[in-house]
């Protein structure tokens, strides 16, 4: 048996599932390089970082590299751009693909120049032999060069030789964006473009009793009024006409509603049937000492993208072409096919940028909406943009959560037993995570598709249980995850998934235990932490903020720390915040120390971490999805305030570069440590312990009582 021939080699990163070099790169005769990432830009600067990796491995200047944004049937299928995994998956694939392309080019050059490849060096695509003579990539490349399966054998460059990776290469997209150029899917325009809007039900389970559509059909500019079950939409010649028609259609629809939503307190989760898994259990030496417990909650949280979701679609000759800002065009295509009743091959999806999404918002839903409406547009192209109230009311939120903790503290001030229980809905309902459909309109059709339940990505990354297992070393430990798959509000992935609440609970409880032990919070953490990289970021941030052990606030000013290793396997983040307590909490200063292994783009990393911190302060202080027993009641920014320019803290970030170690994701690790640091700072200031996120004025008053 020729086993060697049948064993599939494991390849690095996304090369494993997209194995041909030509899927990733072209070396062109015109002196350029084309790269085709399957990951997409969502304002995190990923395309700039991937370009640096390719330029570095190929030894060509950045300007030579053109990026083809993701489109089904052409780009490698890299699933979803999420979980801060793009550098680990796409970055690693490009690193090995480019290294192998370079080797293939050197082999051709060696043959042409009649020297061994050890004699050759490369500078901006020009290969020079030590004995004289040179030839360029562009002279010796051809269409066949990369038409082969990757071997994974080409050895990437040593980090000692880096000249592009690790530098603050400017983002490729910013000049166009600040010039006002049409860069977003929202800006697409073609001759004859039609504008569409959807008229949504007033609540999740509302039933359509009646709707007068004729009245709307007679309105100026209206091309079509569409009804499929309780999916209602309009198409008009002009955008303002579509909006007016949508408003009239909404007024003309009569709905039957009932109370289907739970009480406005995450503790409703404790009353529901859950699937329980013990996700960590350690039994060491018997523990004894004082016992402590805590309970922490967080409300549903919205992505609240600045731009409501938008897609453009065309239906012609039985085939759909869709442009959208989805984070996963291949899973979306597979999910759209049954809803549209066509095979996936009859749908082409192009990724075009949208506003920052921070997770799974309505970017996928709007693609199906636009395609459904395009069927009624007689071959004309249709642009559909959700309205602000629609985005607030219908996007999938991050699940509410409840976390309970228990610990035993020995007389020597050591935690000898740690227990934690997490209650939550699943943190993903992205397309492709069925059975059932995760696209909004699919549930509203005359022949509806079954709504998929929420699920969690598996550990070690996890979903609701992301960062639920403490990174500290405790001799006895038990962590249980209680998953309630069917959420009363739509729920899916939002920056950090469960890590925000889990780290909030762990790091708040650590401070409570440190206080009980009479030990400084930082010393107490270090006492329980062996991981040297974790210790290093904590010590670094303490030095940055000039942390004074055991110092107490003055009733109004306080300081607190939070720490985590994101997903217990990605970046290490330690943060100290200063707060001022008045009518509300004001975060005035944040220091952060960050270790994400090898840094690809130092300024891109800073931008991500600074932004994550400011957004996390907003999450912690202000944000919650409001609902009554019938409806989600968010309509505008008044109902969902976020941090404004006059409320943002000063943020200082220190990066610990470890070029010899693998690069790790960075974008999401900030959310957990910040929530805890703020709560710990409030306690430090005034002795008030906050257990429920967000820390609004109302909750502050409740906690003081």
């Amino acid at each position: 048996m020729a086993i060697e021939n049948t064993v599939r080699r494991n390849l690095p990163g996304s090369l494993e599932t997209n194995r041909n070099l030509s899927q990733w790169l072209d070396i062109n005769t015109d002196g350029t390089v084309t790269m085709r990432p399957g990951k997409i830009e969502i304002g995190q600067g990923i395309l700039t970082a991937l370009r640096q990796i390719v330029a570095e491995e190929l030894d060509v200047n950045l300007e030579r590299i053109n990026i083809v944004t993701a489109v089904t049937a052409l780009s490698p299928n890299e699933g979803v751009t999420s979980g801060s995994r793009s550098i680990e998956e796409s970055g690693v694939a490009f690193r090995y693909a480019a290294a192998e392309a370079r080797e293939l080019l050197l082999a051709r050059a060696g043959a042409k120049l009649g020297v061994s490849i050890e004699q050759l060096s490369v500078s901006d695509g020009v290969i020079t032999s030590r004995s004289g003579g040179s030839v360029s990539y562009w002279d010796i490349t051809d269409g066949d060069l990369l038409k082969r399966e990757a071997t994974g054998d080409a050895k990437p460059k040593s980090h000692m030789l880096y000249r592009i990776v690790g530098t603050a290469a400017p983002r490729v997209d910013i000049p166009r964006k600040v010039s006002g150029a049409p860069v977003y899917v929202h800006d697409m325009d073609v001759p004859g473009l039609l504008h569409a809007r959807v008229s949504r039900p007033p609540s999740y389970k509302a039933e359509l009793v009646s709707v007068d559509m004729d009245d709307v059909r007679k309105m100026p500019g209206v091309v079509a009024v569409v009804r499929d079950g309780r999916f209602l939409g309009v198409i008009a010649e002009r955008e303002e006409q579509a909006i007016r028609a949508q408003r009239r259609l909404t007024r003309n629809a009569k709905w039957k509603e009932g109370p289907t939503l739970p009480e406005f307190d995450p503790r409703y989760l404790l009353k529901l049937q859950a699937k329980t898994d013990v996700i960590s259990e350690k039994k060491g030496a018997a523990s004894s000492g004082r016992e402590f417990s805590g309970e922490y909650t967080r409300q549903f949280l919205a992505h609240a993208s600045l731009a409501p979701s938008c897609a453009v679609a065309k239906f012609e000759g039985g085939k759909f072409t869709v442009w959208t800002h989805s984070q996963g065009i291949y899973p979306l295509r597979a999910e759209m096919a049954p809803a549209l009743g066509v095979p996936a091959e009859d749908i082409v999806i192009h990724h075009v940028e949208g506003a920052g999404c921070y997770g799974h918002n309505a970017a996928d839903d709007v693609a199906l909406d636009a395609a459904l409406l395009a069927r009624g547009a007689l071959g004309r192209t249709v642009r559909l943009q959700w309205m602000r109230d629609e985005e607030f009311a219908w996007e999938p939120y991050s699940s509410a959560m409840v976390v309970k903790t228990r610990a035993t503290l020995s007389d020597a001030g050591q935690i000898t037993d740690w227990q934690m229980d997490v209650w939550s809905h699943g943190h993903s309902s992205r397309p492709g995570r069925g059975p059932g459909s995760n696209l909004l309109a699919a549930w509203h059709l005359e022949k509806p598709l079954v709504r998929a339940q929420t699920a969690n990505p598996p550990l070690p990354g996890g979903g609701s249980h992301r960062n639920a297992i403490p990174i500290y070393d405790f001799p006895n430990e038990k962590v249980s995850n209680h998953l309630i798959p069917d959420p009363p509000l739509r729920a899916s992935a939002l920056r950090g998934l469960g890590s925000q609440t889990n780290v909030f609970a762990i790091e708040s409880f650590m401070d409570e235990l440190a206080l009980a032990a009479g030990v400084d919070p930082i010393a107490f953490r270090l006492r329980h932490l062996k991981d040297p990289r974790g210790r290093a970021v904590i010590e670094k941030v303490a030095a940055m903020a000039k942390w004074k052990p055991n110092s107490r606030g003055d009733g109004a000013n306080g300081r607190g720390i939070g720490f985590a290793r994101y997903k217990n396997g990605a970046g290490y983040m330690a943060m100290i915040v200063d707060i001022v307590l008045a009518e509300t909490i004001r975060v005035t200063h944040v220091w952060a120390a960050v270790d994400v292994g090898q840094i690809i783009n130092s300024d891109g990393l800073l931008n991500q971490v600074e932004g994550g911190i400011i957004q996390a302060v907003s999450f912690a202080l202000k944000e919650e999805v409001k609902y009554d027993r019938e409806r989600v009641t968010l309509k505008s920014w008044d109902d969902y305030p976020i941090l404004s320019f006059d409320e943002v803290p000063e943020v200082e970030v220190a990066l610990i570069n470890r070029p010899e170690l693998p690069p790790l994701g960075a974008g999401e690790g900030t959310q957990g440590p910040i929530s805890a640091a703020v709560a710990n700072a409030v306690f430090n200031a005034a002795g008030i312990r906050l257990h429920d996120i967000p820390f609004t004025r109302e909750r502050l008053i409740t906690a003081m009582a």
């Binding site: 969502i42 304002g43 995190q44 600067g45 603050a168 400017p170 983002r171 997209d173 910013i174 000049p175 166009r176 964006k177 600040v178 010039s179 006002g180 150029a181 049409p182 860069v183 977003y184 929202h186 800006d187 325009d189 002009r238 955008e239 303002e240 609240a304 993208s305 600045l306 731009a307 409501p308 940028e353 949208g354 506003a355 920052g356 921070y358 943009q385 309205m387 602000r388 300024d603 931008n607 991500q608 600074e610 932004g611 994550g612 911190i613 400011i614 957004q615 907003s618 505008s636 920014w637 008044d638 976020i642 941090l643 404004s644 320019f645 006059d646 943002v648 000063e650 943020v651």
Partner: protein
């Protein structure tokens, strides 16, 4: 005969009816896609333009209210090849993540710098109080506005 407005120095005969928010006229008739829809409620500032020297949220103004007036959008202050000092400063400070809020913020900042060449931090924050940024790029944006102010004073 429809209404006339002037957009970035060019006359435009408006085809939309008079109740149409200025935003849609600018985007779909004048082709100024840098004026962005964020809320339609005058709450987020993504659609900010300058009229009579003042920042105006164009989603919240019927086009009839600006008939005969001169409107400046982000496209009117600079381009990729010839950026306004504010646009250049946003690039120099890498003051964007998704960038969706950036054009509205640049217009609010321009309205400030046109009347106050040396604004304090508090004045800049006040001028941007009607602009939202969801990515948390505030700190870099504030730095960019300060940098542009210095450049423009030179």
């Amino acid at each position: 005969m429809g209404m006339q407005i002037t957009v970035n120095g060019r006359a435009l005969s408006v085809a939309a009816d008079e109740e149409t928010p200025l935003l849609y006229v600018l985007r779909n008739e004048a082709g100024c896609k840098g004026v962005r829809y964020g809320c339609g409620l005058g709450q987020c500032g993504s659609c900010t333009v300058i009229i009579d020297g003042k920042p105006v949220q164009s989603c919240d103004v019927p086009v009839s209210a600006v008939a005969g007036k001169s409107i400046t959008t982000v496209e009117g202050i600079g381009s990729m090849d010839e950026p306004h000092p504010l646009q250049r400063a946003f690039v120099d400070e890498q003051a964007a993540q998704c960038g969706y809020c950036a054009t509205g913020i640049i217009m609010s900042a321009k309205a400030l710098l046109d009347v106050n060449a040396s604004p304090s931090d508090a004045e800049i924050k006040a001028a941007l109080s009607k602009n939202l940024c969801r990515c948390g790029t505030h700190q870099r944006i504030l730095r960019a506005v300060k940098r542009a102010a210095i450049e423009m004073r030179k």
